[in-house]
Amino acid sequence: MSEQYFRISYAVWEITLKCNLACSHCGSRAGQAREKELSTGEALDVVRQLAEVGIKEVTLIGGEAFLRPDWLEIARAITGAGMLCTMTTGGYGISLDMARRMKEAGIGVVSISTDGMEETHDRLRGRKGSWKSGARTMSYLREVGIPFGCNTQINRLSAPEMPLIYEHIRDLGAEAWQIQLTVPMGNAADNADILMQPSELLDLYPMLARIAQRAEREGQVKVRAGNNIGYYGPYERLLRGGGEAWGFWQGCNAGLSTLGLEADGTIKGCPSLPTAAYTGGNIRHRALRDIVEHAAELRFNLNAGTPEAIDSLWGFCKTCQFAELCRGGCTWTAHVFFDRRGNNPYCHHRALEQAKRGVRERFYPKRQAQGLPFDNGEFAIVEEPLDAPWIEHDPLHFTSDRIQWSESWLKEPELAMAL
């Protein structure tokens, strides 16, 4: 992965919903292929259209992308059209031979999902042996010369293991690590007990910052904050911008520099957005250019800096000093909590401000999700005194004393001093 590479415009393409894992946090509830997934001919036409609208990088995902028989043909077409082809995979079942064919097809970078150390990862991914298989995949990629990184869902099961995960993927040769909070979409909406509570972010972020600081010092793994990490707390620039002065959250990019495609041709402004509320159209019925240019579902971020943009905010986010720039953080995250965007409970700045007032926030399920891919239910949020006893029967409650630091971390300087 070149250090000079800057992502300009990016499409994430679910080429099949078929999957060989059964993740308890899977937003798309992957497993079986969708009923009417695009044919090879249709997929190749999508590649042409992606290049035409200005996409420079395409990430193939699933389900599990390699379970689609023509996936390397699609990858070759992407590369042939002048776009960077990357892939995100669970890494379960990739052989050395397949890694070689991936290299030949021009796949430039791979991200392997790593959601914990062995027991936690296998539990979250619903399959024993998936952690070991992921590690093998990394060794194969290394052997054939495909640069790779890892991506990790942060939730109450994986959070305590983040320092160990860092060391694990570093030792396997990962060059990047994308971290993202698990949010209540799809299967994760049905397993809300694994989700971080907003006040738990107060213990989470110092840990993440400490890891990022070490990664920066060691110089191999680039920590990349996903769209729902941050925002505007004291570690924002360390986590998102590698310490750069202007490296902080500047609003949701759905439909601006990002597109999401589902395997049946559904087009959204971001792959994670709920299908029901954010589908701009289907490639089978409408040209991609037309959808990008005219569909309201892909244009909602085009009003930044206007009164309309502020009007779409509510709750804490409407009152926030960063409201105009932030616009409620990650649209996906806000929407899946409250079935409406504009108020984001997963914000470090918000948790810190609430703590200053002696308040903590806690959400609880109000309405179940329907059980469809990329669906969401609805949560309610309550404010409680910061020092009130934690609710009973919550065995996964995350606190800093649950974090598993190996001995190697004792040498890492205290964070506040480093800031």
Partner: protein
């Protein structure tokens, strides 16, 4: 010479129609982050990571 039949790309596009307004917000956020980091450095934030309690 460029081909006139090639449609111009639509992406990436900015959400901001007013560049000045965006710059104002960026500067405001940067200043707030400068202050937040300074405060954290001087006083420490509310809690520090506990490195000793669960070392394995």
């Amino acid at each position: 010479m460029t081909s006139s039949s090639q449609p111009s790309p639509l992406l990436p596009r900015s959400g901001w129609q007013n560049e000045q307004a965006l710059l104002k917000q960026l500067v405001k956020a940067k200043q707030a982050l400068d202050a937040a980091e300074l405060t954290a450095a001087l006083w420490g934030i509310r809690r520090q990571p506990q490195t000793s309690s669960h070392t394995i």
